[in-house]
C-alpha cells in the first residue's frame, strides 16, 4: 500500500510540471504581459517600462523566467501581482481555505445523497421514484450551474429573505448573527448548487452500475442462500457497483474544483475561483499562474485520494 502511494505521488510530479510549463508558456509567450496590459492605455515612456520589466524579472529570457518562477513556487512564493506589486500569497491568502471549505462540503454531501438514491433507484427500477430521479437528473445535467444559483438567490434571498445572497460571512444579520450559524447560512446555497450539478451525474452512474451488478450470478447465489436483502445490497453488491463510480469520482472532483469560478462568481464567494476571474479579466498573470497551479495540485491530490480509496475497495488493483 505504502509503495503504491509513493509511486502515485512520483507519477504526479511530471504531470504537475508539464501543466506548469504549458500554462507558463501560453501566458508569457502570448506576449509580454506588460505590453498586453498597456494595450489601449495612455503612452508610458520606455524608461519606466524597462524599470517595471526589471522589477518583475520580465527582462530575462522565458526559460530563465520559468526556472525562477519554479524555484520560487517550490518555496511557496507565488511572486508579485502586476497590479501594485503586492505578493500573490497575500492576494490569495486565506481565500484558499474558503474555497476548500466549500468544495469539501459539496463533495461529502454529494456522495452522502447520491449513493443511497442511486441504490434505491436501481433496486426499484421503473418505479415512480426511479422515473422521477432519472428524468430530474437529466434535467440537472442540462441546467447551467450559474443560472440555478441566480434563481436560488432571487427566490431565497430577495423574495423570502431567508438566506444571505453573497459572501461567506457577515453582511445582514440573518440567523441571529451567531458566527457559526452565519457561516452555515452562507454555505447553504453555493453548496446546494454544486451538489445538485454533480448529483445528476453520480446518481445516473451509480444506478447503471448497481443494475448491472444486481443482475449478476453471485447476487442470485446470495439470494438463494437466504441472506438478508440489506446484507446483499450493502455488503455484496455495493462494493462491486461502487468501484466504477470511484473512478468517475476523480473526474467529478476535478469538475467540481474547476467549476468553482462560476459558483463563486454568482455568490460573490471570497474564494480562489472569483480571484481567478478577476485576475484573468485584468490579465494579472502571476496571480492567474498561482491559482492555476494550486487548482491543478488540488485536482491531482483529489485524484490520488480517489485512487487510494479505489485500492481499498477493490484489492485486485494492488496486484498490478
Amino acid at each position: 500500500m505504502f509503495r503504491y502511494v509513493v509511486r502515485r505521488l512520483l507519477y504526479m510530479i511530471p504531470v504537475a510540471v508539464g501543466i506548469s510549463i504549458i500554462s507558463f508558456i501560453t501566458m508569457y509567450a502570448a506576449g509580454d504581459p506588460i505590453n498586453i496590459i498597456r494595450l489601449g492605455r495612455a503612452t508610458v515612456d520606455k524608461a519606466t517600462l524597462d524599470a517595471i520589466r526589471a522589477y518583475y524579472g520580465l527582462d530575462k529570457p522565458i526559460p530563465i523566467q520559468y526556472l525562477n518562477w519554479l524555484s520560487n513556487i517550490l518555496q511557496l512564493n507565488f511572486g508579485k501581482s502586476l497590479y501594485g506589486g503586492i505578493s500573490v500569497n497575500l492576494v490569495i491568502g486565506n481565500w484558499l481555505w474558503e474555497t476548500v471549505k466549500l468544495q469539501l462540503a459539496a463533495i461529502f454531501l454529494a456522495l452522502a445523497i447520491s449513493i443511497p438514491i442511486g441504490i434505491y433507484s436501481a433496486r426499484k427500477q421503473y418505479s415512480k421514484l426511479d422515473v422521477t430521479v432519472t428524468s430530474v437528473s437529466l434535467f440537472g445535467v442540462s441546467m447551467p450551474t450559474f443560472w440555478l444559483g441566480v434563481i436560488l438567490i432571487i427566490i431565497f434571498s430577495y423574495n423570502l429573505g431567508l438566506l444571505p445572497s453573497e459572501g461567506a460571512y457577515g453582511g445582514t444579520k440573518i440567523w441571529w448573527g451567531h458566527p457559526f450559524l452565519d457561516a452555515v447560512a452562507h454555505l447553504i446555497m453555493p453548496t446546494a448548487v454544486l451538489v445538485y450539478v454533480s448529483l445528476a451525474q453520480n446518481i445516473r452512474l451509480i444506478r447503471a452500475n448497481m443494475l448491472e451488478v444486481l443482475r449478476s450470478d453471485y447476487i442470485l447465489a446470495a439470494r438463494a442462500s437466504g441472506l438478508k436483502e440489506r446484507t446483499i445490497i450493502y455488503k455484496y453488491a455495493l462494493r462491486n457497483a461502487i468501484s466504477p463510480v470511484v473512478t468517475y469520482l476523480g473526474i467529478a472532483l476535478g469538475a467540481i474544483i474547476a467549476g468553482a469560478p462560476m459558483t463563486e462568481y454568482v455568490f460573490n464567494w471570497p474564494g480562489l475561483g472569483r480571484r481567478f476571474v478577476e485576475a484573468t479579466t485584468r490579465l494579472d498573470f502571476p496571480v492567474v499562474m498561482g491559482i492555476t497551479m494550486i487548482i491543478t495540485v488540488m485536482t491531482l491530490i483529489a485524484n490520488l485520494v480517489v485512487d487510494i480509496i479505489y485500492v481499498y475497495i477493490d484489492p485486485r488493483i494492488r496486484i498490478r
Binding site: V15, I19, T26, W147, I154, M262, T281, V288, T292, T299
Partner: protein, 332 residues
C-alpha cells in the same frame, strides 16, 4: 410452425431486407417518446435560429433601433402580461420584459438563438474532426503512436480546462479588430469574438471524444470482416474510411448531439463570467448584462436561462434517444 407459415415469413423477410440499418434505427427512435420530444425541441430551436429574425419587434444589437424601449422610457419593465396581473394578460408588448440597459429581452433572445446554435454546431464540428483524426490514428495503428497520442489526450483531460479557456479567450479577444469577419466568397458575416471563443472551446474539448473514437476503433478493428478486407489486400485508408468509420458513425452521431449540448452550456458560462463576445447577444451574454441588476430585473435572468436549459435539455434527450435507437442492447 407449418411449412406454409414458414414460407410466408421467409417472403416477408426478403421484402424487408431493403430496410437499411438507418431505417431500422429510425423506426426504433420513433417509438421512443422522450427522444422524439428532444428532436422536436431541437428542430424548433433551429427554426427559431433561422427564421426568428422576422418575428421580433426590435432589430439585433448593433442597430441603434434595438434600444428603442430605452428611449421610450421602458427600462427595467417587467413582462407586460405580468404587470397588473391579471388585467393585462393579453398585452404582449414586452413578452419577457425589458433589460437593465433598455432592450427588449424577447427580441434579444430570438436574435441570440442563431449565435448559440453557431457555437454549439461549430464547436462540435471542430471537436469531432479532431477527435476522429486523433482517435482513428491512435486506435487503428496502435503501438507507440497510440501511446504518445493517448498521453497527450490524458494531459488535456486532467487540465482544469475552464481556467485555460478563460485565459485563452481573454488573451485572444484582445487582438480582435472588427466585430465581424466576412468570409470572402460566400460573403457571410461571422462574429469575430464568438468565433475565437468557439475555437478555444473546441481545442479544450476533443480529448474525451477522441478516447471514445479510439475505443470504438479498437472494437471494430478486431471484427472478422476487417480481417477479410485485409486479406483481400485493401489499403489502410480504404479500411478506415470505407469500413471502420461507417460502422462507428452511429456512436459519433450520438456523441455529437451531447457535445452540442455541452458546448452551449460552456459558452453560456464563459459569457456569463464576462469573457464572451460583447458584440453578440448570446444567451450567456444576456445573463451577464443583467446579472448586476438581478434584484430588479429577475425576468431578464430567468427567461434567457430557461432558453439555455430547454435547448440543452433537447439536445441531451435527442442524444439519449439516438443512443437507445442505435444500440438497444445498452439500454438498462
Amino acid at each position: 410452425m407449418s411449412l406454409n407459415q414458414k414460407e410466408t415469413s421467409k417472403k416477408q423477410e426478403v421484402k424487408r431486407r431493403s430496410a437499411s440499418q438507418w431505417a431500422v434505427a429510425w423506426r426504433r427512435f420513433k417509438r421512443n417518446k422522450v427522444g422524439v420530444f428532444g428532436l422536436i425541441i431541437v428542430i424548433a430551436v433551429f427554426l427559431v435560429g433561422v427564421f426568428g429574425d422576422f418575428f421580433t419587434s426590435y432589430p439585433a444589437r448593433p442597430n441603434p433601433d434595438a434600444y428603442l424601449p430605452f428611449y421610450k422610457g421602458d427600462v427595467r419593465k417587467p413582462p407586460s402580461w405580468l404587470e397588473n396581473w391579471p388585467k393585462q394578460i393579453l398585452n404582449w408588448t414586452y413578452p419577457f420584459g425589458t433589460s437593465a440597459i433598455g432592450t427588449d429581452v424577447y427580441s434579444d433572445m430570438i436574435h441570440g438563438t442563431k449565435y448559440t446554435l453557431y457555437v454549439g454546431v461549430v464547436v462540435t464540428l471542430i471537436t469531432m474532426a479532431l477527435a476522429i483524426i486523433i482517435g482513428s490514428i491512435s486506435g487503428f495503428y496502435g503501438g507507440w503512436v497510440d501511446n504518445i497520442l493517448m498521453r497527450i489526450t490524458e494531459i488535456f483531460l486532467v487540465f482544469p480546462s475552464l481556467l485555460f479557456i478563460l485565459v485563452f479567450v481573454r488573451i485572444f479577444t484582445l487582438t480582435v479588430g472588427d466585430p465581424f469577419w466576412t468570409i470572402p466568397i460566400i460573403n457571410l458575416q461571422i462574429p469575430a469574438g464568438l468565433t475565437i471563443v468557439t475555437v478555444v472551446l473546441a481545442i479544450f474539448n476533443w480529448a474525451s471524444n477522441a478516447r471514445m473514437v479510439r475505443g470504438e476503433f479498437l472494437r471494430v478493428r478486431e471484427l472478422e470482416f476487417i480481417e477479410a478486407e485485409k486479406a483481400l489486400g485493401a489499403s489502410n485508408t480504404r479500411i478506415i474510411f470505407r469500413h471502420v468509420l461507417p460502422n462507428i458513425l452511429s456512436s459519433i452521431i450520438v456523441v455529437s448531439s451531447l457535445t452540442i449540448a455541452y458546448a452551449i452550456l460552456i459558452e453560456a458560462a464563459v459569457s456569463f463570467l464576462g469573457f464572451g463576445d460583447v458584440n453578440t447577444t448570446t444567451w450567456g451574454q444576456l445573463l451577464q448584462e443583467n446579472f448586476a441588476d438581478v434584484r430588479v430585473v429577475w425576468w431578464a435572468e430567468f427567461f434567457p436561462g430557461l432558453a439555455i436549459l430547454f435547448t440543452v435539455f433537447g439536445f441531451n434527450l435527442l442524444g439519449d434517444g439516438l443512443s437507445d435507437a442505435f444500440n438497444p442492447r445498452l439500454r438498462d
